[in-house]
């Protein structure tokens, strides 16, 4: 057994006995699936299901008696139409008591019989995300009635309603259910990438800043173990914790999302055992880099607390490429694959879209992460040779 192995095994044992290290490695993998499945379920239910209890949604109507046929059409379209009773309907909307209220104007009947567009007001608050599907459905029902009446009027005058149709628009959506699913499921890659940075964090801090803060670093560097051996072993231990966290996050998140009814959105989740395997292949090099970077920063930090502060901020680092791409979309380029976190995000996106994993992309990202990880571990070994680092500043 080499010295690196001895130190590595001790760090693993120490980490397993440390509640903080264990908690930080395990809480996120348990939380992420709940979050991703929960968020997905919320999106799905808002988008498709305006009938949570299986009954027609109640649609309050002001001036219901003014247009019985119109109201009948709305009832046939799946709304439980009721006459609005209460104060100003505007207040009910702004207060959030009702999602949509339909107001039939007083001249509806006269306008209607004389062939003028009869005015109907639809009151809603577009900023309420949970009202959007209701708004869409009510609008569709009203417009449908309008078109139907218009067509009938043309027919009564001997004109084909198709004449009024300048263009027959047919929308052909060629996205596959997997691709549509991928958009929503971008959450999972994000969480897996975050796991790379969260799960190894405490072990890295404890092995580097903790070793000095407890006053054992001086004795440790006085052993025949070289500083590079120390850095390698401690990096290895952080990597193990990070890798376990990443595996747990990926497996549990994908598993949890299987419980969400995506079919009703016309989406499907292209993620089974093969995809999880690819996620792990993609992310383990990133974990290696994250652990190395954390060890380097924690070694450089003056104290445990300082290391904690730096590394907590670093958790948000992997989100930066995603934000930049959202604000300023860029054509995907080969160099992006070599950038840690960015490459992983792009590759996992491809996997989720059912496009698989390109060998060149993976080779680029593996090279990028490995080179940076090696640099960080070497840098950590160099730092441990410095008097100010060993004795504290």
């Amino acid at each position: 057994m080499s010295r690196v192995q001895v130190i590595f095994l001790k760090e693993i044992m120490d980490g397993l006995r440390d509640r903080r290290s264990l908690a930080s490695a395990m809480i996120f993998p348990l939380l992420a699936p709940l979050l991703s499945a929960g968020l997905l379920a919320m999106i799905v239910s808002q988008d498709t299901n305006d009938r949570p209890d299986g009954k027609d949604p109640i649609l309050p109507i002001v001036g219901m008696e003014l247009a019985p046929t119109f109201v009948g059409h709305l009832a046939d379209s799946g709304f439980d139409t009721v006459a609005w009773e209460g104060g100003a309907p505007e207040d009910a909307i702004t207060a959030g008591d009702e999602k949509v209220i339909v107001r039939i104007t007083a001249d509806f009947a006269t306008d209607f019989t004389e062939g003028r567009p009869a005015r109907v007001e639809m009151l809603f608050d577009e900023s309420r995300s949970d009202a959007r599907s209701r708004i869409r459905n009510v609008r569709r029902a009203i417009q449908g009635y309008g078109l139907q009446i218009g067509g009938l009027r043309l027919l009564a005058r001997g004109i084909s309603p198709t004449l009024a149709q300048g263009i027959a628009l047919q929308e052909v959506d060629l996205s596959t259910p997997e691709e549509r699913g991928a958009q929503l499921l971008q959450l999972i890659p994000m969480f897996v990438i975050m796991a790379c940075f969260i799960c190894s964090m405490y072990v890295a801090i404890d092995a580097a800043a903790g070793e000095r803060e407890r006053g054992s670093l001086e004795s440790l560097v006085l052993t025949p173990a070289s500083t590079l051996e120390l850095a390698l072993a401690k990096w290895g231990a952080s990597l193990v914790f990070g890798a376990i966290g990443v595996i747990a996050t990926a497996v549990l998140s994908v598993w949890a999302c299987r419980f969400v009814d995506l079919d009703s959105l016309g989406m499907s989740l292209a993620a089974g055992g093969r995809e999880i395997g690819m996620f792990l292949l993609i992310c383990l090099p990133l974990t290696a880099f994250a652990a190395a970077l954390q060890l380097l920063v924690a070694t450089y930090s003056r104290s445990f607390k300082e290391a904690q502060t730096y590394l907590s901020v670093m958790i948000f680092l992997p989100m930066a490429p995603g934000f930049v791409l959202t604000v300023k979309p860029m054509e995907e380029a080969a160099w992006m694959m070599a950038v840690p976190a960015l490459g992983q995000q792009l590759m996992m996106g491809h996997v989720l879209q059912g496009e698989g994993l390109a060998g060149l992309d993976f080779a680029l990202s593996l090279t990028g992460c490995t080179a940076l990880a090696a640099l960080c571990v070497w840098g950590c070994g160099q730092l441990l040779k410095r008097e100010q680092i060993v004795f504290g500043r």
Binding site: M1, R3, V6, I7, K10, M13, D14, R17, D18, R214, G215, S216, L217, E218, S219, V221, L222, T223, P224, A225, S226, E387, V390, F391
Partner: protein
């Protein structure tokens, strides 16, 4: 056998140690005596090779710890200034860990660790996690860790600091037994009585320089004072270090 020759170390504008030379023989206890902040720890750190001297040289059994650190460390057992042990490991695991890093394996390792645990009177707490240990128990584990590879030369930086009377006494017995085993023992202290009771040779350090070197008797003669206490005061030029 340890020798230091003309050591000098500065931190910025502060000269922490200047022209410190001494030799410590095998089978002898050499005490580095000086008030707090005199430069004892800095001098020892240069001896065991973690601080690079601006000037001067060190030799441990003929090996320069700055040129051949790995080899020198085989010959050196160090209780450094920071004496922390791993709180989540047991006393035994703490000692075994360092034994393994030094390359000990199997029955040789087990035997050495058992021997240290017995001789340091750690049997009662050997398999308990160190987080609840008293100051004295922690100090003993740190010493066992420093001695696990059976080094010829032992450097102890303030080994009695913070210990109660009983533990201090046990520490003195341990230091004496290290001398009986023929080792070269160097220990630093700011407590005059302790140094005078144990040491064959005393190196008095004040303000980063060697104020005097010699046996307790020689120091009394040199200063012309009747008691060692008075000799110490006149050597370092203050009364610091007499309480403790």
């Amino acid at each position: 056998m340890i020798s230091a020759d003309g050591l000098r170390k500065t931190f910025g504008d502060v000269v922490a140690v200047d022209e410190v030379s001494f030799a410590a023989e095998d089978g002898q206890i050499t005490g580095i005596l000086g008030p707090n902040g005199a430069g004892k720890t800095t001098a020892l750190r240069m001896v065991y090779g973690l601080l690079k001297p601006d000037q001067g040289s060190v030799s441990v059994d003929g090996i320069d710890p700055h040129a051949r650190p790995r080899e020198a460390r085989e010959h050196l057992g160090v209780l450094p200034d920071s004496k922390g042990i791993y709180p989540r490991l047991t006393a035994r695991e703490n000692i075994v860990y360092y034994g393994k890093i030094h390359g000990l394996r199997g029955s040789a390792l087990d035997a050495r660790v058992a021997e240290l645990i017995a001789s340091l009177d750690l049997t009662r707490v050997a398999d308990r996690r160190a987080e609840g240990f008293s100051q004295g128990e922690r100090m003993k584990v740190a010493i066992a860790r420093a001695l696990v590879h059976d080094p010829r030369n032992v450097l102890l930086d303030e080994p009695t600091n913070g210990l109660d009377v009983m533990s201090t006494r046990a520490m003195r017995d341990l230091i004496s037994s290290l001398r009986e085993q023929g080792r070269c023992v160097v220990f630093s202290s700011h407590v005059m009585q302790e140094v005078s009771a144990l040491c064959d040779r005393i190196v008095v350090i004040a303000r980063g320089r060697v104020a005097a070197v010699g046996s307790p008797d020689a120091l009394r003669e040199q200063t012309g004072e009747a008691s060692l206490e008075e000799a110490f005061v006149s050597l370092i030029g203050s009364e610091e270090g007499l309480v403790g």
